[in-house]
Amino acid sequence: MSGAASATSTLARPEQDPSVRPPLVLGGKRVGDVTRLVSGIVEGKTPRWWWPVFLFTGGITAMCFAMIGYLFATGVGVWGLNEPVGWAWDITNFVFWVGIGHAGTLISAILFLLRQKWRTSINRAAEAMTLFAVMCAGIFPGIHVGRWWRAYFLAPIPNSNAIWPNFRSPLLWDVFAVSTYAIVSFLFWYVGMIPDLATLRDRAKSKTKQFLYGLFALGWRGGNRQWRHYEMAYLLLAGLSTPLVLSVHTVVSFDFATAILPGWHATIFPPYFVAGAIFSGFAMVLTILIPARALFGLKDLITTRHLENMCKVILATGCMVGYAYSMEFFTAWYSGNPFETFVFVNRAGGPYAWAYWTMVTCNVITPQLFWFKKIRTSPWLIFALAIFVNIGMWFERFVIIVTSLHRDFLPSSWGYFIPTWVDILTFVGSFGLFFTCFLLFLRFLPMIAMSEVKGIMRGHSLIGADEPMDVHGRGPIAAHKHKEARP
C-alpha cells in the first residue's frame, strides 16, 4: 500500500524535517501486524516472569485483606489515629489513589476531544489503571468509618432509623463523585474494548475463549451501521468524562477546602488538586507502561515519543503544583492571619518538615529534569523519576492532611502522628491489589486499543478527524500528507 511507502520515507529522517510529524506507529507496521502483536500477548503462552510476579503481588493483596480483617475484628485503634490527628494514612491513601486514576481519564477523554492521536497507544492501559486505582481508593473510606457495618449510611438508602444523609456535606458529594467516576470509567473502558474483544473472539482457537470473548464482545461485527452509533457513544462518553474527571478531584478537595481548618481552607484547592492528580497519574502510567512495553515488545506502538509527551505533561503539571505550593505560602503571609501563617511555617519548619521537603524535592525539583530531551527520551531514567513523583504525591497528601491537623489551635492539644504496622501494611497491600489487577488485565485483555491504533496509522482514515476523503481511496493519504506537511 502507498501508505506504507510514505511512512518509511518519513521514517528515514524524522529529525531533519520538523514540519513532518513522525509516525505514531513505528517499524513499518501494517494493520494486521497490530492485531497480531497485541492479540499475541493475550493468546501466547504465559510469559515466564508472569507467574512469580503474580504470586508476589497476590500475596501482598492477601496481606491487605488480612489487615482489613484485623481492623474489622479489632477496631480503628489498630491504626495510629488519635486526637488531634483523626485523619491520616486512610485519607492520604484514598486521595493518592483517586488522583492516580485521573491520568487514565485525561488520556482517554480529554486528549480524545483535543484530537491528540498519540493517545490511542496508551489509553486502554491507562483506563485500566484508572479503574484499579479507583478500586484501591474505594477501600480506604469504606474501612475508615469505624463502625464499618454502618457504611451503608453513606448512601441514601431508606432505613429503619428514618434518617437520611446530609446532602449539604462535601463528604457525601464525595461519595457521589467517586462512585459516579468509578462507574463511568468502567463503562468507557468497556465500550472502548468491545471491538477489540470481537477481534480476540474471531481469533480464538479454544471453545472456552471463543465463548467468553464472544460473550463480552456482545456480537460486535464491525459494520458501519454499528460504528456510526459506536463512535457517537464514544464521543459522548469522552464529553461526559471530561467535566467528570475535573469534578472528582475538585470534590475531593472540597472535603478539605470547606473545612475551617487553616491549611485546608483554601480556594486554590480544586485546581491544585486536579493538577496534582494528573501529575501523579501520568507518573503511574509511566511506572507501569515502561516495564510493560519492554516485557511485551511493544516499543513500536508505545514509542519514545509517547513517553516524551507524557514527560511533558508531568513537567507542566509539576510546575502547576509547585506554583500552588508557593501560592499557599503567599496567601498565608498576605492574609495576615496568624493561624494560617503558623500552619505553613510549621509545615515547612515544624516536626513534619522532613515530609514537606520530601514532597517539594520529589514534586517540584524532580520534574524539572524533564526540560532535557535526553532525559525525556531515556525510558529507565523516566521510570526512576516517575517513582519519585509517585512518592512525592503521596507525601503531598500526607503533608496537607497530617501537618494541618497535628497542631490544633491550643498547644495543649498538639500531637504527632506515627503510623502503626497495620497502617503501613494496609497501604503496601493496596499496591498489591493494584498490580495484581493490572497483571490480570495484561494477560487476558487487549492492553492496546487495536481498533483505534489502526485508525490512526499512516494511509488509513483518522479517528476523530473529519478530513474529506475522496472516493478513490487516495483521499485519506493525500489529505494526511497535506496536513503533515503544513508547518
Binding site: 444523609p165 456535606s169 463503562l187 471491538p195 461485527r221 459494520g223 488509513h460
Partner: protein, 185 residues
C-alpha cells in the same frame, strides 16, 4: 482477482465481497448506494470516515437520548435531595437553609453525568441491536478478518433492488477481490 460467479443457492441472506483497502470499500459503498441499495452494510476493523456520507446515513440520534437522560438525572438528584433533606428529614446543619440548592448542585451534576453515561452505552447497544450473538457475518468464513484487517460489504437479499447475479456483478465491477453468497442464518 475476480471470480467466476457460482450458482446462487436457494435460500440466501445476501451477497458479500471483500475489498483490499478502505478507499476501495468507500468507493464501492458510494456506487452501491447510488445504484439504489439501502439494505447493505460495510464491515471494517475500524470506522472509516466519510462512510456515513456515502451510505446516506445521517448523524446518529444517540445525542438526544443522552441529553434526555442527563435531564432525568438532574431531576432525580434534585427530587432526591429535596425529599430527603427538606421534606422527610429536615435537619439544620451549619445554619444553612433546608433547600440549599447551591450545595445540591454537585450531586445534580454527578447524577446527570451518571445517567447520561448509562444512556450513551445502553442507547448505543439498543441502536446497534447489541447484544446479538448470532448473525451470518459472525460465522461465515469470508468475514474472519473483518475485525483484523479485512474490508467487506454485504448486500442483503431483502433489499428491493437485490437481483441475484446482477448484484454479484455489481460487487465485481466495484473491485471486490472475493465474492460469496451468504446464507441466511
Amino acid at each position: 482477482m475476480s471470480q467466476v460467479s457460482i450458482p446462487m443457492p436457494s435460500a440466501i441472506g445476501g451477497v458479500a465481497g471483500q475489498f483490499d483497502t478502505p478507499g476501495e470499500l468507500l468507493a464501492a459503498a458510494r456506487r452501491v448506494h447510488q445504484a439504489g441499495f439501502r439494505r447493505f452494510d460495510v464491515y471494517s476493523p475500524y470506522p472509516i470516515h466519510g462512510m456515513d456520507l456515502v451510505m446516506g446515513l445521517g448523524r446518529s440520534h444517540l445525542g438526544w437520548i443522552v441529553a434526555a437522560a442527563a435531564a432525568a438525572g438532574a431531576v432525580t438528584a434534585l427530587v432526591l435531595q429535596w425529599y430527603t433533606n427538606v421534606l422527610d428529614y429536615p435537619l439544620i446543619t451549619q445554619g444553612k437553609p433546608y433547600f440549599s440548592w447551591q450545595a445540591f448542585l454537585v450531586v445534580v451534576f454527578e447524577l446527570s453525568v451518571l445517567f447520561a453515561a448509562f444512556a450513551a452505552v445502553f442507547g448505543m447497544f439498543a441502536l446497534n441491536g447489541l447484544p446479538r450473538w448470532h448473525h451470518p457475518t459472525l460465522t461465515h468464513d469470508l468475514f474472519t478478518t473483518a475485525t483484523d484487517d479485512g474490508f467487506f460489504m454485504l448486500i442483503e437479499a431483502a433489499d428491493e433492488k437485490f437481483a441475484g447475479q446482477q448484484t454479484w456483478a455489481l460487487l465485481q465491477s466495484c473491485g471486490a477481490s472475493r465474492i460469496e453468497w451468504i446464507n441466511e442464518s
